[in-house]
Structure formats: structure tokens, C-alpha cells
């Protein structure tokens, strides 16, 4: 057996596990937790197109989640338009907003960019909280929108059990993973990486860095908005404070950084660690020691960064490679590359 075959086998194994999970995990609670885990992995992967490849740190992606959720929900509540269609409309609107955000902010560097995206997202939240109607559309300001139970089924994007949601988000996640993998190996991926690391040098090599970043931003905001619709249909309630929140924006970015920024597996690894830590610590301590779960969450963030400042992906890849090497009985040389990572 050679390395390629092992990789393929491992991939198929993971897929089988992912698709078979609901057959084993019967508890709706745990399935709920896993659905949200995938949801975050999906968001982070979409985020990665900008935050990972383009080398900037957006901290306002919750705005796109909000745009997606609000668009499809308003269209479905007021005009009976299927959320599936609304999802695409939301994606398009988010893309436009994303590009509008990108135009001024991509001129900024480092911390300025990060903080400017926070301001953008917060600005959108404040606007949503302040308007009850946009023309005929009922946004309902700070009171949020509730989706009343409709007939369940694929068309209404509403189901009685968790399993359909599970498979929808799983497929979405796989698609977006494939897309990022594909992009990372394409001209756009090279251009984004180069432009993110040394913009001046990249320009001299024929790269319109701003345009490459805008393309990435457009794709990222489109994909992120799709998940917004999913979230709205899954939780049946959207509220500006929770869906366009800093918490959500931060968590997306943190999952990426904890998992390994700019890598394909990073978002999944990050979500696999952070989501359960968040959920289970709240379950165990939420009632007896209020706040304890956030202390634990904070500690985990700090500890991971202390021991793996580049994220979990690096050591785990190494581990996997050495496992594979042992399997095929070949000793791989150390030869670990060292280098200056970008900030």
C-alpha cells in the first residue's frame, strides 16, 4: 500500500463515519451539538478564504451570517419564498456588502483591518437593531424574527428531526472544503497567498492584489451568508444581538486560528476542539458555578496557543504523516521545515 492509497482510505473512512454518525448518535442533543460543530467548521472554512489565504484577519463575519439569515427569513415570512431561494438571494446581497466592505478595508493593514471589520459588523448590527422596516420588509429591529412552524419538508427547509439538518450542513461543509482545496491549488490561491504576505512584491509580479482579495471576499461572504440561512432554519429564530454578534465573529476567527489558519483541515480541527469545550463546560458548570464555563473556554484558548501557536493542524499533520509512514514501513526523514510564518 502506498501513501496515496492510505490517504484515500482515510478520507473514505472519515466520510463513512460522517455520513453514518446519525445512525449511532441517536440523542438529539448530541446531534444538535454536532450540527453546530459542522456549522462552525463551515463558517470558518468560508472565512479562511479571506482570513487564511489572503493573510488578513476579518473579525466581522457575523455580519454575513446575519445578512443571509435575515434575507431568507424575511422573504419566506413575508412572501412565502422558499428559504432555498432566499438563501441564494442572501448570498448575493452578502457578496455585494462584502465587496463594499472590502473596497476600503483592504487598503488597511494588520490590526487596522481587524478592527475595521469589527466596526463594520457592529455598524450593521446597530442598523438592524434600529430599523423596524426597510421599505415593505419587516426587519423587526431589536426584537428579532421568529419562524413559525410550517409544514416540514425539503421545500420549506424545515424538518421535525435533526437528521436532515445534519446532512444538509454536512454536504455544505464538504462542498466548501472541496472548494477551498481547489482554490488553494489554483492561480487565485497563489495570488492570495502572495498578496497576503508581501503585497508590493506580489503587485510587481502582475498581481492586482486588491482585486484578488475582493474576489476572495466576495466568495467568502457569499458562502458565509448561505450558512446564515441554514442557521435561521435550524434555530427558527434570529435576533440581531445573537446572529450579528461579536461573539460569533470571534468564534469563527478563533476556530481558524486554533485549528491552523490557512489550512484546509484547520477549521475542522478547531471546531472539533472548541465547540465541545464550549458546550460541555456550559452543561457541566453552567448551573453550579456561573461563568466557570467561560473561564474554561478562556483557559483552553490560552493553553492551545501556548503549546501550539500555529494551531492544531501542524502537529496533527505531522502525527498523521508519521503514522502513514509507519504503516507503509518507510522511515521518513525528519526534515521538518522551519520558517517565518506570517503574522
Amino acid at each position: 500500500m502506498n501513501e496515496k492509497q492510505i490517504n484515500r482510505l482515510a478520507g473514505i473512512g472519515l466520510l463513512v463515519i460522517a455520513f453514518g454518525l446519525p445512525l449511532v448518535v441517536r440523542s438529539a442533543t448530541y446531534l444538535h451539538i454536532v450540527v453546530l460543530l459542522y456549522f462552525y467548521a463551515y463558517l470558518t472554512t468560508s472565512w479562511n478564504l479571506v482570513g487564511g489565504f489572503a493573510g488578513v484577519l476579518p473579525l466581522g463575519h457575523a455580519a454575513f451570517v446575519g445578512i443571509g439569515a435575515y434575507t431568507s427569513t424575511i422573504l419566506s415570512l413575508q412572501y412565502g419564498i422558499s428559504p432555498w431561494l432566499g438563501m441564494l438571494v442572501g448570498g448575493v446581497i452578502a457578496t455585494i456588502v462584502g465587496v463594499l466592505i472590502g473596497l476600503p478595508t483592504f487598503k488597511m493593514r494588520g490590526a487596522y483591518f481587524a478592527l475595521a471589520t469589527i466596526a463594520f459588523a457592529e455598524g450593521i448590527r446597530v442598523i438592524v437593531e434600529n430599523v423596524d422596516y426597510i421599505g415593505p420588509l419587516k426587519v423587526n429591529g431589536p426584537r428579532g424574527l421568529q419562524i413559525p412552524p410550517l409544514e416540514t419538508g425539503l421545500v420549506n427547509y424545515m424538518f421535525a428531526s435533526k437528521e436532515p439538518y445534519y446532512y444538509i450542513i454536512l454536504v455544505m461543509l464538504l462542498l466548501v472544503l472541496f472548494l477551498t482545496w481547489f482554490i488553494s491549488r489554483s492561480k487565485l490561491g497563489y495570488y492570495l497567498n502572495a498578496g497576503g504576505e508581501e503585497p508590493e512584491a506580489a503587485m510587481a509580479l502582475g498581481i492586482n492584489v486588491a482585486r484578488a482579495k475582493l474576489i476572495a471576499m466576495a466568495m467568502s461572504s457569499f458562502l458565509t451568508a448561505l450558512a446564515g440561512t441554514f442557521y435561521a432554519q435550524f434555530s427558527l429564530y434570529i435576533h440581531p444581538k445573537s446572529i450579528i454578534s461579536l461573539d460569533l465573529s470571534f468564534e469563527i476567527a478563533f476556530i481558524a486560528l486554533i485549528g491552523g489558519r490557512g489550512s484546509i483541515a484547520g477549521p475542522i480541527l478547531g471546531a472539533l476542539l472548541l465547540r465541545p469545550v464550549g458546550d460541555f463546560s456550559r452543561i457541566y458548570f453552567g448551573d453550579t458555578l456561573p461563568g466557570m464555563h467561560l473561564i474554561i473556554f478562556g483557559l483552553v484558548l490560552i493553553l492551545v496557543m501556548h503549546y501550539q501557536p500555529r494551531g492544531l493542524q501542524e502537529p496533527l499533520t505531522r502525527l498523521y504523516k508519521s503514522l502513514v509512514a509507519r504503516l507503509i514501513g518507510k522511515t521518513t526523514g525528519g526534515g521538518q521545515e522551519h520558517g517565518i510564518a506570517r503574522s
Partner: protein, 295 residues
């Protein structure tokens, strides 16, 4: 007309206090190149220290600075030394180690919730605080005394810090480290000590800001969050790393918040702040007083 004057004065006073709450953020960024997401929490800790210092010893709330500033300095110093420094050592070659912001966020969660666990969720304010409702009255024009003190303290603090950075040997060493960690170490500067120091100074200014806030504000575990985002806006508006910029940024935000409601509901002024923020950045991506080369 009188209204405008009154609101403008309030905006400037409150704004300079905002500037003071954000000053530590800009100092820490200037040196460590790190956004300290725990800055609001440092402010909160400072408010608790002030509250207890005044409640237990009964000293004048403004005199509490002599207790709070040093306590917060050491708190920040050792927090950086123990929790953040290892990351800097691990990421020697990175100029702006982004991983540190995760750590500072972790500190934020921990501090806020540890406070909740220890002191409970109660809202506290100084009992029989003589400054609480002190106002200067000029006919119909009211000026809040605690805010006026806050403004003066903010300006004095900013001037002192500026002087320290420009004119002292340690200040120069701090500036040098902020530009090139490695080259600074070749001048005999212990970069990690400088980082501790900068973090300590940043925390001490949060402590001073806390002292100005406690006489007219509530103390509770999540109070820092209220000042967090405002702080980010302020420092970016003023230019990251610029002390005077923080003050000016704070005053701009204070003015919008104070004068804006004459023309719209208070909830919209927030949106105006964000809007203005983005316009400024669009025109001047490094903020009003930011260094172009050394963002």
C-alpha cells in the same frame, strides 16, 4: 445654542475619559503590536480595585489613584510576564503575532467570569460618594464635576506618558523595542521586560481610567465590555500607537454621542460613530495620527 454648548462640553469631558479608557490599548498596541482584547477587563479589574480601595480604606476616590495605578501596573506586568510572554518567545520572528489576540481574549473571558464567581453579579457603586451628583451650575448650564476631574486626569496622564516615552531612557528603549525587537535586544534591552513594562503601563492607565469612572459609574463583572468596542474605535480613529490620537479619538466619539442625540435617537449615534470611523479610515487608513510606516 446653550444646548449645543452644554452637549459639546459634556462630549469633550466624557470623550476625554473615553480616550483615557482606551489609552492603555494604544500603548500596548504601540509596543507589542497586539490588540489587547482584555483591555476592557483590565478596566473592570481597575474599577473593582478602586471600589474596594475606597470602600475598605475610606480614602477620597481620586486619591485612590495612588493605590490603583501601582496595583494595576503590577497586575499587568505579571499577567504579560506569565501568560503572554511565552507566546512572544515562541513566535520570535513574527512582528505582529496574531495568536496573542486569542490569548488576550482568553484573559478577557477568564477575568470577567472569575470576577463574577468571586464577587457575584451585583452592581456596585460607592456608598455616600460625595462626587456622585456634584455639578457646576452656570445658570442653566450644567457641568459634571466628576467628568471634569476625569478630563483633567486624562490630559495629565496623556502628557505624562508622552513625556516618559519621548524623554526618558526607558521610554526610548520602549519605542526602540516597538520598532525592532531583535535590534533592541542587541542594544542591551531585554525585550520581554519592555513588554512587561508596556503592558504594566497600559494596565495602569486602565486603572487610572477606572478611578475616573467609579465616582459616577457602576462596578460589575461585565462593565469592561461596554468600553471595549468603543476603545477599539477610538484607538483606530486616533491612530494605533498614538497617545494624543487616543485622546482625540475619544473626544470625537464623546462629541458624537453627546451632541448627536439632539438630532436623532440615542441608538442611532452608535451607527454614526461607526460610519464616521469607516470614512476616516477610508481617507486615512492609518487613523488620524497613526504612523504610516509603523502601523
Amino acid at each position: 445654542m446653550l444646548y449645543i454648548i452644554e452637549d459639546t462640553i459634556n462630549g469633550i469631558l466624557m470623550g476625554s475619559i473615553y480616550g483615557l479608557t482606551a489609552m492603555g490599548l494604544t500603548i500596548i498596541f504601540g509596543v507589542l503590536k497586539v490588540i489587547n482584547f482584555a483591555h476592557g477587563s483590565m478596566l473592570m479589574v481597575g474599577m473593582y480595585v478602586t471600589y474596594w480601595a475606597v470602600t475598605l480604606t475610606g480614602i477620597n476616590p481620586y486619591l485612590a489613584i495612588v493605590i490603583v495605578a501601582p496595583v494595576m501596573f503590577f497586575f499587568g506586568y505579571y499577567l504579560q510576564d506569565i501568560v503572554i510572554k511565552p507566546i512572544f518567545i515562541a513566535e520570535k520572528n513574527v512582528r505582529e503575532p496574531i495568536t496573542v489576540i486569542i490569548v488576550t481574549t482568553g484573559i478577557w473571558y477568564i477575568l470577567d467570569n472569575l470576577t463574577l464567581l468571586i464577587f457575584g453579579p451585583q452592581y456596585r457603586s460607592l456608598a455616600d460618594n460625595p462626587w456622585r451628583s456634584k455639578m457646576l451650575e452656570f445658570g442653566d448650564l450644567f457641568i459634571s464635576v466628576p467628568k471634569l476631574y476625569g478630563c483633567i486626569i486624562a490630559i495629565v496622564t496623556a502628557a505624562a506618558i508622552y513625556w516618559f516615552f519621548q524623554k526618558t531612557s526607558m521610554g526610548r528603549a520602549i519605542r526602540a523595542t516597538s520598532m525592532d525587537r531583535e535590534a533592541a535586544s542587541l542594544q542591551g534591552i531585554n525585550q520581554y521586560k519592555i513588554y512587561n513594562l508596556a503592558f504594566g503601563i497600559g494596565s495602569a492607565t486602565a486603572g487610572i481610567a477606572a478611578v475616573t469612572l467609579v465616582p459616577f459609574n457602576n462596578v460589575f463583572p461585565t462593565v469592561g465590555v461596554l468600553f471595549d468596542i468603543k476603545g477599539f474605535i477610538i484607538v483606530v480613529l486616533g491612530g494605533l500607537g498614538s497617545i494624543g490620537g487616543a485622546l482625540v479619538g475619544g473626544i470625537i466619539v464623546g462629541l458624537i454621542e453627546s451632541v448627536g442625540p439632539q438630532f436623532m435617537t440615542a441608538t442611532w449615534t452608535e451607527a454614526i460613530v461607526y460610519g464616521l470611523f469607516l470614512v476616516v479610515l477610508f481617507v486615512k487608513p492609518s487613523g488620524l495620527f497613526g504612523q504610516k510606516h509603523d502601523w
